[in-house]
């Protein structure tokens, strides 16, 4: 018998079976739900009531800081070392536009990808679910639903029976 339990992992054959089971689990009052799929399954986030991702804000902030940084940098270097090139303006926005654009894209893209990894809690080397025997199929052609042990309604036998009933082809207890 395992001491501490992460949750129960149920395996399904298709995305449709998974979404149907996730909806049932939601309706049955389970809240600590997570699904594991080989590719993004449409509508799953809505059924699991996942919060809307906020990556776009990270991208927006990153973009503004990149553009602002580039503008300040170029203005400062021209202020600190003014070079008269045929009487052309020192603070030439049209000439600064290229580097501003590039750094806007650079900061924005990098901050979105870093935000994505950060919010996902990655990179990490191990995770309790990796100990599950059939979990390696989650990157191939099987679809998994996990009900966490911290769920208020969680009960090892009842929840297991519920998942079997919902059409799972296997249900596994995952140790913490």
């Amino acid at each position: 018998m395992v001491e501490r339990v992460y949750g129960l992992l149920a395996e399904f054959d298709s995305p449709e079976a998974l979404t149907a089971a996730a909806r049932k689990a939601r309706d049955a009052g389970y809240r600590r739900l997570d699904a594991f799929t080989p590719f993004p399954v449409e509508g799953l986030a809505r059924i699991l009531r996942l919060p809307r991702p906020t990556i776009s804000w990270a991208g927006l902030i990153g973009g503004f800081s990149g553009g602002g940084f580039a503008l300040l940098m170029q203005c400062y270097t021209n202020y600190d070392f003014p070079l008269n090139v045929g009487g052309r303006p020192l603070y030439a926005l049209s000439a600064f536009a290229v580097v501003m654009f590039e750094l806007t894209i650079l900061f924005s893209a990098l901050s979105m990808i870093i935000a994505m990894l950060w919010q996902n809690g990655l990179p990490r080397l191990n995770y309790p679910l990796f100990a599950a025997k059939r979990f390696h199929l989650a990157s191939k052609d099987r679809f998994f639903l996990c009900i966490g042990a911290e769920d208020e309604k969680y009960d090892e036998e009842q929840t297991s029976a519920f998942l079997q009933q919902a059409g799972a082809s296997s249900v596994e207890l995952v140790p913490q």
Binding site: A35, I55, L110
Partner: protein, 451 residues
């Protein structure tokens, strides 16, 4: 085009089968011998580049054929050529992702890999051309004891920011798309060394619904940024030319002309790689004749747009009525380097016309030959743009010729090794077709056929 993608993959294959097939390529490499022969050839080219670079650093750029007035030749010419090739990878993976043309799913991974290494090949050229490459850090704004800063009003300074940004964003985008597939390879791996390698590189990805949701948003938005980035990078490259007042360069058609030419040459190289890899690894079930058909159409379309650039360039010179512009035009059509102009026209646009026929587009070897012609044609075009504008300067007394030396050629062929070696390593160690995107597409197709 998206409506055609409805049945681009044969539906009579299983998701698990695709996953096994694609992860099996790095894990149980099927064509070890052919790969080693290709690697040997590529390494020899890379060795040639190393020798050329050592000689260059020891002797200086005088070993090349460049001199006043043609002081920009192979270095910038090949820089533009390589960078242009790289752009198709980003366009395929980012632009076609946003337009939901799902046929890209079989092509995007190796197209993006191609982008990365083509940009590296491009990126080393301006450094080699510097003359004193150990001062490359002068390009960056750092508080120097000399109290000077880089000149941000110069296109040469924009260049390094554009190329480094492009390289970094391409890498980040490529890697983000790769994470789920590295996890798939990790889960299939049975040998300890592969488990460790994919275990670390997959960053602990587990395919959680919440993760996928954030991942999709980040991936799509990065794709949205990558598309204008491509356009900006090659426009910026064209500004290296167009900002100067050299006849034949000083034209507003240059930015779109360069971007379209870049896409044209890049799609040609993507076609070369697609045809080669699918016959090499037997991927006929994933890179289908329909894919080649679409690639052929894109190649034809970008080729015709590039041809429009040629026409407009001539019009531009005639319409300006400027004596020197007209002289450069005459030099291009009939001068000492007329072979580059007519070579570009013939290689770029004559074989291309065969792509109007569906059977040609769907025949691997025909598409391959046409694409090779385009790569050569675009190489000649960059040669032509560089040399024909420069060799007859404003000052008649400084008119001269450019002849590439042995070291020009050895450096150029060497960069092909610099491209091939990491590319071959990449197809050896990573899934060369996106597994999860192919599975997703297959699932959608199956859903449609079931009703």
């Amino acid at each position: 085009m998206s409506d055609r993608s409805a049945d681009i993959l044969p539906v009579r294959q299983s998701m698990g089968g695709i996953s096994d097939q694609l992860t099996g390529i790095p894990l149980h490499f099927p064509v070890e011998r052919r790969w080693l022969i290709a690697m040997l050839f590529a390494s020899l080219l890379l060795l040639m580049l190393m020798v050329s670079v050592v000689v260059l650093f020891a002797e200086g750029v005088g070993i090349w054929g460049i001199n006043i007035p043609v002081n920009w030749a192979f270095a910038i010419h090949n820089y533009v050529w390589w960078l242009g090739i790289g752009h198709a990878g980003t366009l395929i993976s980012a632009l076609l992702l946003l337009t939901q043309s799902e046929w890209r799913n079989s092509l995007n991974r190796f197209a993006e890999t191609m982008t990365l290494f083509a940009v590296v090949c491009a990126g080393i050229y301006p450094v080699l051309h510097l003359g004193r490459p150990w001062y490359i850090y002068w390009m960056f704004p750092y508080p120097a004891t000399m109290d000077v800063w880089p000149q941000f009003r110069s296109p040469l300074e924009w260049d390094i920011w554009a190329v480094l940004t492009y390289l970094t964003v391409s890498f980040a985008f490529w890697y983000t798309g790769l994470i789920p597939d590295l996890a798939a390879a990790r889960d299939r791996a049975t040998k300890r060394s592969w488990q460790i390698f994919f275990g670390i590189t997959s960053l602990g990805w587990r395919g959680s619904a919440a993760h996928w949701q954030r991942w999709s948003q980040a991936y799509r938005l990065t794709a949205g940024l990558a598309v204008p980035l491509v356009v900006s990078v090659h426009s910026e490259v064209s500004l290296l030319f167009a900002s100067g007042q050299i006849p034949g360069w000083h034209s507003t058609i240059f930015p779109p002309y360069f971007v379209l030419g870049a896409a044209f040459s890049g799609f040609a190289v993507v076609s070369i790689i697609a045809v080669s890899l699918r016959s090499w690894f037997g991927l006929y079930n994933l890179v289908t004749d329909d894919h080649l058909d679409l690639l052929g159409m894109v190649l034809l379309a970008t080729g015709l747009m590039t041809a429009y650039g040629y026409v407009f360039e001539v019009f531009d010179a005639l319409y300006s009525g400027d004596a020197h512009e007209l002289q450069t035009l005459a030099d291009r059509l009939t001068g000492a380097y007329a072979w580059t102009y007519w070579g570009a026209i013939i290689f770029n646009f004559i074989p291309l016309q065969a792509l109007w026929w569906r059977e040609v587009r769907r025949t691997g070897w025909a598409l391959l030959l046409i694409s090779i012609a385009v790569a050569i044609g675009m190489w000649l075009e960059r040669y032509m743009i560089l040399v024909t504008s420069l060799y007859r300067d404003f000052l008649v007394s400084s008119w001269s010729k450019f002849t590439p030396t042995f070291w020009d050629w050895s450096t150029y062929f060497g960069t092909i090794g610099l491209f091939l070696v990491p590319f071959l390593i990449a197809i050896r160690v990573i899934p060369l077709i996106s597994i999860f995107e192919t599975e997703e597409l297959l699932h959608e197709e199956k859903e449609k056929t079931h009703g």
